[in-house]
Symmetry: C2
Subunit: 405 residues, 2 copies
Amino acid sequence: MVNIAILGYGTVGSGVVEVLHMNGESISKRCGHDINVKYILDLRDFKGEPVENLIVHDYSIIVNDPEVKVIVEVMGGVEPAYSFVKEAILKGKSVCTSNKELVAKHGAELLELSKAQKVNFLFEASVGGGIPIIRPLNQSLTADEIEEITGILNGTTNYILTKMSSDNADFDTALKEAQAMGYAERNPKADVEGFDACRKIAILSSLAFGMQVDFEDIYIEGITEISDIDVLYAATMGASIKLLATSKKVGNRVYAMVAPMLIKPTHPLFSVNGVFNGIFVRGNVIGDVMFYGSGAGKLPTASAVVADVVDAAKHIGTNIMTFWSSRKLELTDIKAVEHRFFVRIADCDDKTKELIQETFGEIEEIKAEGRDSDYAFITEFLSEALYEEKAERIGKTLNRIRIMF
Amino acid sequence: MVNIAILGYGTVGSGVVEVLHMNGESISKRCGHDINVKYILDLRDFKGEPVENLIVHDYSIIVNDPEVKVIVEVMGGVEPAYSFVKEAILKGKSVCTSNKELVAKHGAELLELSKAQKVNFLFEASVGGGIPIIRPLNQSLTADEIEEITGILNGTTNYILTKMSSDNADFDTALKEAQAMGYAERNPKADVEGFDACRKIAILSSLAFGMQVDFEDIYIEGITEISDIDVLYAATMGASIKLLATSKKVGNRVYAMVAPMLIKPTHPLFSVNGVFNGIFVRGNVIGDVMFYGSGAGKLPTASAVVADVVDAAKHIGTNIMTFWSSRKLELTDIKAVEHRFFVRIADCDDKTKELIQETFGEIEEIKAEGRDSDYAFITEFLSEALYEEKAERIGKTLNRIRIMF
């Protein structure tokens, strides 16, 4: 039997208890040990609930109990999670976490520490909810040099964009619906402005390239500027707008960004709709692979946490090597990164049209129904810097979305 | 340094050497050891090629060399692969294989043997080429009870069906093109009649349900009867025809089958086109996940084999537990399995139409352009047995395709 403790009895924490209860028999078979929840750390008492007797309010009881071999950290946020996890590892306990803030900020350090302590720091649930992606990156794609990771890593924004497209809704209406469905928080900033996706692509990039990618270095653009007019144009082009978190090798350098982008049906991420997540990986040997599933939700996330617990329990006394050094990866300046851009300008007069044609050179004009006074077009490949310079020259408000195809 | 030997220097075997050469540095980092190819077993000499000095013709040299810790079996076929692999395991060597015939037939036994010997028998490349699916099933979906696995597991047939759909080609034309492109063999029987997909779903089902699923027990229907008329009707319904290999829990029983089926764009497998493979898994906790990538090809397959070699090298002296007992899983008789069926009958007279309506009850009629004299419809959910009984009563040739939606 392997004793574990759960820090935080919120959505994910209670999901972990539920999964261990629901599938206990098959989990024990696969693990080779029974998993026993010995403690749950929470501020609340949960009087009268089945977990009442497991609740403790004092972390030192857990961390000083030599019987506890694995700690599940599902509190979220950097502190006190970081201090708790570090102490656990130093006391020889493995840690499984769903906490993307903690992993993005302190992943490299906690991995190094756990290697030294011959324990494991596992975080499958921190990216993509239930989707197996951390373990495949660490253990399955080991023969490859990763050239690109691009993910739809945030279910809230993907739900909003899918709704805008299927219902011709504007951003505010779709956001309200997402909130009503419980897919978006009352304060949706972390999701719609891309911060959540940014933490996750930082984690994936660090694992893929084996060095620390700081999320503060990643260029972020959210979806708050995307309008129903953009969605109309996307449909006209047979494309769709997705909030993509991407990191890509160009030559020997890597760039990383989070931004809404236009993609076409030939891309595997095109059909990732609603609250689902998808993670596309390109390796120099394996070619293109994609992982798809529920990016959030109590049970899918708990499924990933429990899979980590099983792995930790199977590897007591052995570190599962993870390839993520604390050496910082210097990302390419985003200004140098090249894309094609879809650009539109409302109420465009002939003089501006001429100026655009002169400035942008070879462009592909796009017409959308009912938008006769717009001028919309796709540019050639341009660096961000060059695009900005050209856009400046036009002297009007241009809406632009980067193109993935 | 870990010494390995490769049995068979064909497409995959030479791919393994190429990958180890191309990505040697990052593989060593991820593995913690350098991987050294000490021998290659082949009947040919490869005079003048860089591998010439590694070639041996006598397996006993390899199996009796205590320096060789991992054996890569990429010869294909059951014998002599089975004897070679068994001997290797008994001599304390781990084995990595891409050989689906071997794994489907002897997987359970070789896993038990390797457990007893504290070595590993790994076979990521046997299903889905480069796509990580065996390791995720074994190590990532451990918190779940698997309810369904459905895969597009054969790139040749998926290419043919995709071509039939995109070019309005008939089966023979699409097959010839697949052969010209090198995607289909001159004798395409194993692919187009579903045998290849059958071996693969047998392996996945055994892992998912933890018991031996014999491929001989699985109902198989290939794609040779699918015509351009079926493809036309599929398009009319907004659906597409895919050769799906599926195993599914219904109550406490499991059924398994390989058959062409109609699926709609809402299903994650819908957009798996061309030679790509996709594997959809439904767990009772994680919900729906899907894995997508190249199902075949020299380098993607070699990527999976080398990832297994890395895993084997990291686990010398420790068995990675795999949940596949040799106890046979008795599958549900396919006759009891229920689907809706798309049925069409050419040159249908009014009397037959009436008989159909009388016999099949509630049906949904389908009209396709240019097929005015057909009668085509979708049935309600019917068991295979009941469908056959009803079809018999009509007394004419009915074309039918099962429906996944």
